[in-house]
């Protein structure tokens, strides 16, 4: 079963090492909350703001999850140090989406998907399903892989922080975009489908894409 989706808003941000200006002070007024945010949470706050999203259904996606906190935990166990309770609380994949819900008091459905290289397409599929009940859905995929020791594992990614997001709406209009999931050099492959969609939207005033449920 296929549905057509109209892209209402889009946002993209990335950096080779660490994204510098995420406007956190403006976006998260509470200092205590702001200080606790993981890198993924900060990127999500930025992208959601760019897409004018505060409340409603959110589909969040990440293939690797909160690697920085996972690594902190492993390092602590391996060196007989105390595991940080905050690192453990932050190590779950839905941390960023949860922080966004806390900041904006959003009690709607929030789902976190993690489907390897297909992560961003699966997020779009899930968003398409949600759109059968909701007028608008926010979908976002983020990878933060700049943890200490990444150089031992990373052989092909040039961008260690990367996020892409859309606000979506169901439509009867004909699809005018076809996304080919070709891998882009240096980009986390889990985000390639949504990055390709973002690029196609750049040349289109009213982008509509077909997604299989």
């Amino acid at each position: 079963m296929r549905v057509n989706i109209e892209i209402i808003k889009k946002a993209l941000i990335h950096d080779a090492i660490k994204i510098q200006n995420l406007n956190e002070k403006e976006l998260v007024k509470n200092m205590m909350t702001r200080r606790r945010l993981t890198r993924s949470s900060r990127i999500l706050m930025y992208l959601a703001n760019e897409c004018n999203f505060t409340k409603g259904t959110m589909i969040y996606a990440s293939a690797y999850g909160e690697l920085i906190d996972s690594v902190n935990i492993l390092e602590a166990i391996n060196t007989n140090k105390t595991v940080s309770p905050t690192s453990f609380q932050h190590s779950v994949y839905n941390t960023a989406a949860s922080y966004h819900s806390i900041v904006h008091k959003n009690t709607s459905e929030i789902l976190t998907l993690s489907s390897g290289e297909n992560t961003s397409y699966c997020a779009m599929q899930q968003a398409a399903l949600s759109l059968l009940k909701e007028e608008e859905v926010f979908v976002c995929a983020i990878e933060v892989i700049n943890f200490k020791g990444i150089e031992l594992l990373n052989k092909c990614k040039d961008e260690l922080e990367y996020g892409v997001a859309f606000t979506l709406k169901l439509t009867d209009k004909k699809a005018n975009i076809k996304v080919i999931d070709n891998q882009q050099k240096g980009l986390p492959s889990s985000l390639s489908w949504m990055k390709n969609l973002y690029d196609k939207c750049e040349d289109n005033q009213n982008p509509v894409v077909e997604v299989e449920l």
Partner: protein
């Protein structure tokens, strides 16, 4: 709208398969054990598999059991939905603790989706998708399965909940001060926390009813929007998920016969769940938590407890609460295994980040 029928199930818990696990629950037994050599200067009561088979093998076996018992030749037309909290973390830990380096960690075997990839390599599904919302992961997968079947997008969906025990979760829950050194005592006055455990739950959902089908009749979710790890003390999030599930099932609270509680044994979770249940349901609704028998299997809990609920309905047996003598709240906890004509049961799952899911299962109507 199509109905979503649970036609085959399989679980692997610390007690064993579904029959052994269900018997242990009815007889108030536990397979959780105390370990003193894992966390320095601390005893922890956790659930580890005791069989001479790897977690991966048990996972594949569980899926194979469902395939053999089903009316399917293979899974080529089946969507696989996996729910897991830690994915392949145990595999990564083994390498890292041995080599003191990340160099030989295979990222594809580390991530949450490694479970789906492992199963896809062997069984070749139509497509795969993984959910990771901490302890509600596989409950969210079940909700999605119900929605996709109801609109006719898929005829066959396999939902797998799987979480292997690992040092990250043992040390992590220990750092939060909520990992118990004894078998947990959900809803009791002086409860000391939860027992992390490993487990696998597999359910085949189809759009056609079979002889022993149980229907996934309702699913509701919500977000607390309160705190990253602590539940909202007003219980609004938990109540919303429960009420959304009831609305989805078109049922009123007094039609639910039994609640399989999330009931982890932590102070915060049990207080909030009890508050939500007491404010929504009649006082005499039967309730129990099965976690003292099999532990808290994190992302697998929703799927495993869904399997338990199908057995509760098929056998018409209420599961008793282990260790009952000093309850904090006046709910109708099941004292002993009890035969009862049951029509609808609910299973609750609550997670870090304030992610809440309630599922309702029912005996299908004869028509």
């Amino acid at each position: 709208m199509n109905k979503a029928y649970i036609n085959e199930i399989s679980i692997k818990s610390v007690c064993g398969d579904i029959d052994k696990t269900f018997d242990a629950m009815l007889n108030k037994q536990t397979s959780l054990k105390v370990y003193s050599e894992i966390v320095p200067e601390k005893e922890v009561c956790i659930g580890k598999f005791y069989v001479n088979s790897s977690f991966k093998k048990l996972l594949q076996n569980s899926v194979e059991e469902v395939l053999i018992a089903s009316n399917l030749k293979d899974f080529s037309s089946t969507l696989l939905l996996v729910g897991s909290s830690v994915g392949g973390m145990a595999t990564s830990e083994e390498i890292f603790f041995k080599e003191n380096s990340y160099k030989n960690i295979d990222v594809k075997k580390h991530i949450v989706h490694s479970i789906a990839s492992l199963l896809d390599d062997k069984f070749h599904f139509f497509s795969t998708r993984s959910f990771s919302t901490a302890c509600t992961s596989s409950a969210n997968a079940l909700k999605t399965a119900k929605e996709l079947i109801s609109i006719g997008a898929y005829k066959n969906i396999l939902v797998v909940g799987a979480d292997q025990i690992c040092m990250t979760t043992i040390f992590g829950f220990s750092s939060l001060g909520i990992l118990n050194d004894e078998v947990c005592t959900p809803f009791q006055q002086n409860r000391k926390g939860m027992n992390v455990a490993e487990g696998i739950g597999v359910l085949l959902l189809q759009d056609e009813k079979q002889k022993n089908s149980i229907e996934l009749i309702g699913a509701g979710t919500s977000s607390d929007a309160f705190h990253i790890a602590n539940p909202d003390p007003t219980a609004q999030g938990a109540k919303s998920a429960i009420l959304n599930a009831l609305k989805d099932a078109s049922l009123s609270p007094n039609q639910i016969d039994y609640i399989n509680a999330h009931g982890t044994g932590t102070n915060a979770n049990d207080a909030i769940e009890a508050k939500a249940v007491s404010e929504i349901f009649p006082k005499d609704i039967f309730i129990s938590s099965t976690k003292p028998t099999i532990g808290h299997t994190l992302g697998a809990a929703g799927a495993i407890e869904a399997c338990i609920c199908t057995e509760v309905l098929k056998k018409g047996m209420l599961i008793p609460q282990i260790k009952q003598n000093d309850y904090e709240v006046a709910l109708n906890f099941v004292e002993n295994a009890k035969k009862k004509n049951l029509q609808y049961v609910m299973s609750n799952s609550f997670a870090f980040g304030g992610n809440n899911v309630s599922l309702i299962f029912g005996v299908p109507c004869e028509s």
